[in-house]
Symmetry: D2
Subunit: 111 residues, 4 copies
Amino acid sequence: MPADSLAQLAARLQAFAEARDWGRFHAPKNLAAALVVEAGELLEPFQWLTEAESRALSAEQTEAVALEMADVLLYLVQLGNQLGVDVVDAAWRKLAINEGRFPVPGSDEAR
Amino acid sequence: MPADSLAQLAARLQAFAEARDWGRFHAPKNLAAALVVEAGELLEPFQWLTEAESRALSAEQTEAVALEMADVLLYLVQLGNQLGVDVVDAAWRKLAINEGRFPVPGSDEAR
Amino acid sequence: MPADSLAQLAARLQAFAEARDWGRFHAPKNLAAALVVEAGELLEPFQWLTEAESRALSAEQTEAVALEMADVLLYLVQLGNQLGVDVVDAAWRKLAINEGRFPVPGSDEAR
Amino acid sequence: MPADSLAQLAARLQAFAEARDWGRFHAPKNLAAALVVEAGELLEPFQWLTEAESRALSAEQTEAVALEMADVLLYLVQLGNQLGVDVVDAAWRKLAINEGRFPVPGSDEAR
């Protein structure tokens, strides 16, 4: 199973929640709340670090951060499941908007 | 280009930031801060809704939420770029941990 | 010492940080990051509760929430210390702005 | 009216919400969600600043930050109203806990 397939992750999370009868908890409002809680946990190890220190994490620190990033992604995918949103597709659309908003300095678009 | 490839999104974001010389801003600490800011914006449209209302968004509301979800994912991928973390791979590892932690009621694992 | 004096709390926090030589960590950026981390911890116990359940916490749950609220206030006051901002004064100003923005229905201001 | 009295702010906020019939929205869960949203907005102006820049805000930037701090405090006080929690009292209790947890280096408590 290719690790990069978010569609497969979405299907597995759907089955995971259904097997545990968690659908009643997984209102989009609740998933969005859980997501910001995890985003806070992701920021926590960085809060007293300098920027330079945050660029030089140990392997152990990086793995801890990776698992917090995972929690954010898992809720993002579950929220997508509930809302019928393909978050990767949305990200490509948003990136196109951002590219229009912030043209590369010196490029034709920036003139 | 398949829309579900986060690896391609990661490459495009890397080029996007480099073209704008934003690498100096993109310390992991700053990206984690930007991510929680976006997670707050994602929660905002839900804050006064009931759970039931959050399950019945209009198409317009859903698209606005999708673009906030996109912002979270874009920072998650950029943070992965900076830390050398494959966030989808981390999500699969975390999901395996969660499956061990919350066995399905009535299953062999739960006994 | 009257418990409601934030000015006294601010002075005590200043002394607390100085005694531990924490001033170098307490850049406004870092305090704002720590504050949102605590705000996430405050939301955490509510994330899967219904609104009705959140209105009916036990005494023990309420005390746990109170200590998370305290953490948010402690960082808010420390941020005020660093920026020279009196947060209670700012709250009165913001409340006056909000009262203008959301007139009472049926009142003279709402017409 | 002394600006530092949170008790007076709490009473005014209670009247403000009642006049607008907002009590039905103000479940503790919703107020905690609104609070973290505001905490994210408070972090936003700092996200790309260096720590040094965050210590040297202009008067205009400081005022904008002060009003975001105000929003956090207003929700903290409203949450206290709903839960029957005196947040300043809780902050003194939490500070006492923290003083025990982080003794001053070289002090009797640290030995």
